[in-house]
């Protein structure tokens, strides 16, 4: 860690442009041997792009990467690995039906007679696999199928595979996102041992606790740039969160890159002034009351009350449990424990149908995979949820479908050639409006909006937030999830802050102030 030793990996001035998006701008990174270095940043800050440049998936437009002082330019992951940069990805990409040993040596089985066409030397493979794992202090039967072992062990096997080659740099892209507490500790134990051996480890995570538990140094990225490099011990949590999302007052910095700054500023002031005008104490009786709902490895027990006509903001970093809470409330995932009452009656939400029947709607954060059915038309996408509730036999007449669709197209200002246009050919903002229309058509009592404004342009963003406020005034409850803290602060009547898979703060509108929220997100007592 001494500054005297030169960095093993030095990245400087990386630019990467995708059509219409500037992903990286003058991005940089230094990795020293024998340190755990955490890369932090909001969604879209450019972390993954930077890693993909390092591992040869993307070629940078300009900039340089030096490994051990020599310039490198890997063109594929294999090349990067041969150079000594090994990566373990977020999803464990191993073969669950092969043995542990086979997984570690996949694509490079040891051969007999030291010839590449020699028969596979199974015994040598098992022995070497066991040795590799022993280095990570894991003692398991390597001839058993990988699927036989829990996820944490699988993660270790992935690391063992990455270590097999003479790795100098180990990149871990969100390795803990599907691990529970104890499993994370095991992983960290392994990382500490590797660090002691002199390995340079780049760790990407969204969890602040884990960052502080393991890191020596932190690089913060924002809007495709390196915001700064800090020693972990010298950076407070509050300062870190501040650097990740930018100062709260500074809207332009928080909103996504490549956006007309002037437009954002006016939009922000507009909404702010109108927001101030309609803040009569909303919120009547409780619409939904959740008590201690939890899911192992995903969400710690959480209590949540949602009043009628209330806009409840759910803030926190990615992975803090926001989406996970939403999915439990919608029955998309089953809760292991806890209870949910709707309108004072205890209900069982085993699947989305149950939740929809109770008047809950859910706009997923993953519009493409969990929301829009791209090849189907605007009309078909809008009527889908309502028709699903009506069932197969009570088909809505075509006239009524067209009426419903064109009403929402007009009301939400959806820009489409016609209501028969495939949703896939619409822009992101308009797709989002179509999904909004799909759920509004079911006339829900509670609408869960998970990142409804992600990846859409400023104008559509503002329009969507306007509808949301209007709906609230009409008595609909809204659970609003967004990574953009200023947005949540602007529109919420009440706000629950989540951190590390549990709720850690509940603020009413009067108490909402950026500093306390930031402190809650960062996990520092006020």
């Amino acid at each position: 860690m001494a500054q005297a030793t030169p960095p093993v990996l030095e990245v400087t001035g990386i630019h990467k442009q995708f059509p219409g998006v500037r992903a990286l701008c003058d991005a940089g990174l230094r990795l020293f041997p024998g340190e755990v270095h955490t890369l932090m940043g909001q969604n879209g800050a450019g972390k993954s792009t930077l890693i993909k440049v390092l591992t040869g998936v993307y070629q940078p437009d300009s900039g340089s990467v030096h490994l051990d002082g020599r310039p490198i330019r890997p063109r594929s992951t294999q090349e990067a690995q041969a150079l000594g940069i090994s990566t373990v990805y977020q999803e464990v990409n191993l073969c669950p039906n092969l043995s542990v040993a086979e997984n570690i040596f996949i694509g490079r089985y040891p051969r007999r007679f030291a010839h590449r066409f020699g028969p596979v030397d199974w015994r040598a493979m098992r022995r070497q696999a066991a040795e590799l794992l022993k280095r990570l202090q894991i003692d398991i039967d390597v001839s058993k199928q990988l699927a036989h072992y829990p996820l944490a062990i699988q993660q270790m096997v992935a690391i063992a595979r990455a270590l097999h080659t003479d790795a100098k740099v180990l990149i871990l892209d969100e390795p803990t996102s599907s691990l529970d507490e104890a499993e994370v500790q095991t992983l960290f134990g392994v990382l500490r041992r590797l660090r002691a051996e002199g390995m340079a480890i780049l760790f990407v995570t969204h969890f602040l606790e884990q960052t502080y538990a393991i890191s020596d140094r932190i690089t913060v990225m924002r809007n495709g740039e390196r915001e700064g490099e800090y020693l972990c011990a010298e950076l407070s949590r509050l300062a870190l969160v501040n650097k990740m999302i930018g100062a709260v007052g500074d809207t332009a910095a928080v909103d996504t890159a490549a956006v007309d700054t002037a437009a954002v500023d006016t939009a922000a002031t507009d909404v702010e002034s109108s927001g101030a005008a309609d803040t009569p104490a909303r919120g009547g009786d409780v619409f939904l009351a959740a008590r201690g709902i939890a899911r192992k490895g995903v969400l710690r027990p959480i209590d949540l009350d949602l009043h009628r006509g209330e806009l409840l903001g759910l803030a926190g970093l990615l992975g803090s449990g926001r989406t996970e809470t939403a999915r439990l409330l919608f029955g998309a995932d089953k809760a292991d424990s806890g209870s949910i009452e709707i309108r004072g009656r205890r209900v069982r939400l085993a699947n989305p149908r149950d939740a929809i029947a109770q008047g809950i709607a859910y706009c997923s954060e993953d519009r493409k995979h969990e929301g829009a059915i791209l090849p189907l038309s605007v009309r078909e996408n809008i009527v889908l949820a309502l028709q699903a509730r009506l069932g197969i036999w009570r088909a809505m007449p075509m006239k009524r479908q067209q009426q419903l669709a064109s009403d929402y197209v007009k009301w939400l200002g959806i820009k489409t050639a016609s209501i028969e246009t495939p949703v896939g050919s619409l822009s992101g903002g308009n797709q989002q409006k179509v999904l909004l229309a799909r759920w509004l058509a079911t006339e829900p009592g509670l609408m869960i909006l998970d990142e409804p404004t992600r990846g859409i342009d400023v104008r559509a963003k503002q329009e969507i937030m306007d509808y949301v406020s209007a709906l609230c005034r009409k008595g609909m409850s809204i659970l609003f999830i967004s990574s953009e803290l200023p947005e949540v602060l602007r529109v919420s009547d009440r706000m629950v802050v989540m951190r590390d898979r549990s709720a850690c703060g509940d603020y009413r509108r009067g108490e909402l102030d950026e500093t306390s929220v930031l402190q809650a997100i960062a996990g520092e007592g006020a």
């Binding site: 989305p352 189907l376 889908l384 699903a388 509730r389 009506l390 799909r438």
Partner: protein, 358 residues
């Protein structure tokens, strides 16, 4: 064919006539219909009297009627297969279900000769209604089995239906005791070889089932739901669809169609051959669906396209036999035609072609 159609796509022209032309060129049925027409024109040139129809004993005879009649079982199988494929599934047990339902019906009916007042007459062992219901019932059970394996146990469709593909034919052989069961019961023959108002009865069966399915898909929400589940099952579930139930239903329907096809086949040949009835029918059905323009990736589907696809296959078979091509060559010729039609539907290939010609 392909290169001419493409420039018109997405550019509605000025005059109504041109606009109509553009719509027709974009129509998903264009390619399969053109292929069938081409084949028929070829037949008209190669086989004298191909289009000639004549009335004998009040029945309509001719090559076209023959093709339609022989295509009936395949059309039924393709009907069910279309919906399965639209949900991004596949059912390779169709042939086995054909054998099974045929075996059940034939064994139950059987038929013995009795002399009644000096006149020999054939009597069914079991009332025909019961036998038919039992055969279709067995087919429905097969579909339920497939559907549960796919939707609840989450086996890959091809693996799930492979089980029945093997087991179904085995069961059929158990039922028939490994023998070819011959049916001696006149009314049963009507299904597969009877005539009604001058046309083969099997055509009415196909027309009825096709119309029923079309109505079901268009007039209920079934069509929308099947497409949604086929394209994006996750989004469909989150929109509140009973995705599992839907998938089970689709497999049940497919097996029911196969069961019906089994009845037509056994009735037509007056016997149930557990070994050969419906052999490889599933592959022809999948082929018919593909030729009809439904993608194996699920989603948008065309029932009419699948019917045309089935007719293409049957016309091709008829042509090959009529031309006196040795049956050994039949498969090769079929493969070539299939290859050409399928490749003309591949967008990658069309782009490649465009690049070459440009």
């Amino acid at each position: 064919m392909t290169t001419r159609a493409d420039p018109a796509l997405g550019k509605p022209s000025g005059t109504p006539a041109q606009a109509l032309g553009a719509v027709l060129l974009q129509h998903p049925l264009l390619r399969p219909a053109a292929a069938l027409t081409l084949l028929l024109v070829l037949d008209a040139m190669l086989l004298p009297g191909f289009f000639r129809l004549e009335i004998k004993d009040g029945h309509l005879y001719g090559a076209l009627v023959d093709i339609l009649n022989r295509a009936a079982p395949l059309m039924l199988a393709a009907l069910g297969m279309t919906l399965v494929i639209a949900t991004r599934g596949i059912d390779i047990s169709v042939g086995a279900v054909v054998a099974l339902s045929g075996a059940v019906a034939a064994t139950l009916i059987g038929g013995t000769m009795v002399i009644h007042e000096g006149v020999p007459a054939y009597v069914a062992n079991t009332p025909m209604g019961v036998a038919l219901a039992a055969a279709i019932g067995v087919a429905l059970l097969c579909g339920l089995w497939n559907g549960v394996l796919v939707a609840a146990i989450r086996l890959q469709p091809i693996v799930a239906t492979l089980i029945l593909m093997v087991a179904g034919r085995g069961l059929a052989q158990l039922i028939t005791d490994g023998q070819i069961v011959t049916v001696y019961y006149q009314p049963y023959f009507f299904l597969g070889s009877g005539y009604l108002l001058g046309l083969p009865f099997s055509l009415y069966v196909v027309a009825a089932l096709f119309t029923l399915t079309l109505l079901l898909v268009k007039k209920t929400a079934l069509g929308l739901f099947i497409q949604a589940v086929g394209i994006n099952p996750v989004a469909a579930r989150l929109a509140g669809l009973r995705t599992a139930t839907l998938i089970v239903l689709v497999y049940v329907f497919c097996s029911a169609c196969a069961g019906m096809a089994g009845l037509l086949i056994t009735s037509n040949i007056k016997s149930a051959d557990a070994n050969n009835a419906g052999l490889l029918l599933e592959l022809d059905a999948i082929l018919a669906v593909t030729l009809g323009g439904t993608s194996l990736a699920g989603g948008r589907f065309s029932l009419a396209g699948s019917m045309i696809g089935a007719l293409i296959i049957q016309t091709l078979t008829y042509t090959i036999y009529s031309l006196g091509v040795p049956p050994e060559v039949n498969m090769v010729v079929k493969a070539i035609v299939v290859f050409v039609v399928c490749i003309s539907q591949s967008s990658e290939f069309r782009q490649l072609l465009k690049k070459r010609t440009a």
